[in-house]
């Protein structure tokens, strides 16, 4: 218990450090000639350290790195939001690719469920990315702010269901052979599952893909509730399959950003490396901290970032 309190304090200190770091960086970013007074490597090193801590916090709070990365980095670093969104996609993509293999091997992520939803989701994420890169900056900031505030509300209110009960699988899911069985470590037994409302799921994944592509956000915040609460997949299967869907949809949108020149390796690689290192440390801390406390603080942090994007959109 004492250890848990101590670990929680450490993670909360990390969040405080993030907040402490960002106004300083923001001040430098807002200076008249930031690039002349701050060497490039300071920003790059700062970005690596920042994303490292962000990775720890993201895992402990149970939110995706991409959804924290874009609003916070676009608010407090001098990079244009085009490059931040392109990098956000690579941050989410690298994390999803790394996590995908073990989740598939364990049978938690389901290939058929993922492929059924990702085909339409990836096409809409390409459309979202094209629209996002064509819109004026203030419109992007405004809609990003609204989206992030919406996500904070979803995160705050959403109640997941570990083992949803389904009456009858729908006809489409039967045709698509979407059902499965996995070993549940908590129950210590095999759990059979199937889904319903597949057509509704397809419509929702079209919308989610569009938003993920438009803002460069990972879409775990939306994928998981749709898999779990709408389609009725068990929570563990929903989380694991969501990661897998991310790896496909983010790949599609990432190509748009690559072709439009909205990916700079100078920014993207330290972000990916920092976030991956941070998530590994975060995973080790996961059992030692009060995740609910950290989650509430992170939701608050996200709300501040969303509000800031909204104000930027209004030119304030």
């Amino acid at each position: 218990m004492l250890l848990k309190h101590r670990s929680t304090r450490i993670v909360l200190s990390v969040i405080a450090m993030l907040l402490f770091m960002t106004p300083g960086l923001a001040f430098a970013a807002g200076a008249a000639a930031p690039v002349e007074i701050t060497a490039w490597w300071v920003w790059v090193l700062g970005l690596f350290v920042f994303t490292f801590f962000l990775g720890i916090v993201a895992v402990v709070a149970g939110v995706g790195g991409g959804v924290l990365y874009v609003p916070i980095v676009s608010s407090f670093f001098p990079f244009h939001i085009d490059f931040v969104r392109g990098t956000g996609l690579f941050v989410a993509l690298a994390g999803a690719l790394s996590a995908g293999s073990p989740l598939l091997r364990k049978g938690l992520a389901n290939l058929k469920l993922a492929l059924s939803m990702s085909l339409i989701g990836s096409m809409s994420s390409i459309a979202g990315a094209l629209v996002g890169l064509a819109l004026p900056e203030n419109v992007i900031q405004l809609s990003l702010g609204l989206t992030i505030l919406g996500i904070t509300v979803i995160m705050f209110l959403a109640k997941n269901s570990a083992y949803p009960q389904i009456g009858q699988p729908d006809a489409l899911s039967r045709v698509l052979q979407i059902y499965g069985i996995y070993y549940d470590e908590h129950l210590k037994k095999d759990v059979d599952w199937q889904i319903h409302r597949t057509p509704v799921g397809l419509v929702l994944f079209t919308l989610i893909g569009f938003m993920a592509g438009m803002f460069g956000l990972g879409a775990g915040w939306a994928n998981v509730p749709v898999f779990n609460l709408v389609l009725g997949a068990p929570l563990r299967v929903s989380v694991a399959t969501s990661v897998f869907v991310l790896s496909i949809n983010d790949t599609a949108a990432a190509w748009v950003y690559l072709h439009k020149g909205a990916v700079l390796p100078l920014i993207a690689v330290p972000s990916v490396a920092g976030m991956m290192l941070g998530t590994k440390i975060g995973a080790k801390l996961l059992t030692k901290v009060h995740t609910n406390v950290v989650r509430r603080v992170v939701i608050g942090l996200l709300a501040v970032a969303g509000l800031r994007a909204l104000l930027k959109g209004f030119g304030i």
């Binding site: 930031p34 690039v35 490039w40 490597w41 790059v44 990079f79 244009h80 085009d82 490059f83 392109g86 690579f90 993509l93 690298a94 690719l97 790394s98 995908g100 293999s101 073990p102 598939l104 091997r105 364990k106 049978g107 992520a109 290939l111 058929k112 492929l115 059924s116 990702s118 990836s122 390409i126 094209l130 890169l133 900056e137 052979q177 499965g180 069985i181 996995y182 070993y183 210590k188 037994k189 790896s247 496909i248 790949t251 599609a252 990432a254 190509w255 748009v256 690559l258 072709h259 439009k260 020149g261 909205a262 990916v263 390796p265 100078l266 690689v269 330290p270 990916v272 490396a273 991956m276």
Partner: protein
């Protein structure tokens, strides 16, 4: 108490295997190539200071002013540090296509035509995006 049983089918295992190996290689590549780039161990097509002086611009304006790697143009001079770092990101964007190809073949061997179609259709979408046809490439 039941012992843990793995329920992943052979297509999933094939996908997982190629995904794991390709991703590990990809992560190693992006780190090595970035070290070559950031420490300027290879010549650059564009000085880092120039990139940093313009990273506050919209992507379209940035490329209007500078001749930075864009889409497949990085393969025009792959021995430059910045081009190499860009290529490693392109590789990361290609990993899923490779996995889908493996899954498509495995589904075909299983005579599962629905998912053979899904795998190859998904791969086609990503290839069209990578080619710049669906993604507004140049």
């Amino acid at each position: 108490m039941k012992q843990e049983t793995i329920h992943a089918d052979k297509v999933q295992l094939a996908y997982a295997s190629i995904l794991g190996n390709a991703t590990t290689l990809g992560i190693a590549l992006i780190i090595i190539d970035y070290i070559l780039y950031a420490f300027q161990l290879l010549p650059l097509s564009l000085p880092i200071e120039q990139v940093a002086a313009n990273w506050h611009l919209r992507a379209s304006e940035f490329h209007h002013q500078l001749d930075a790697p864009l889409g497949w143009s990085c393969f025009s001079d792959p021995l430059k540090g910045d081009m190499l770092s860009y290529i490693s990101l392109i590789y990361l964007g290609a990993v899923t296509m490779l996995c889908l190809f493996v899954a498509g073949i495995a589904f075909f061997r299983d005579k599962n035509m629905i998912y053979t179609f899904f795998s190859f259709a998904q791969m086609a979408v990503l290839i069209l995006a990578a080619a710049g046809i669906l993604s507004g490439g140049h």
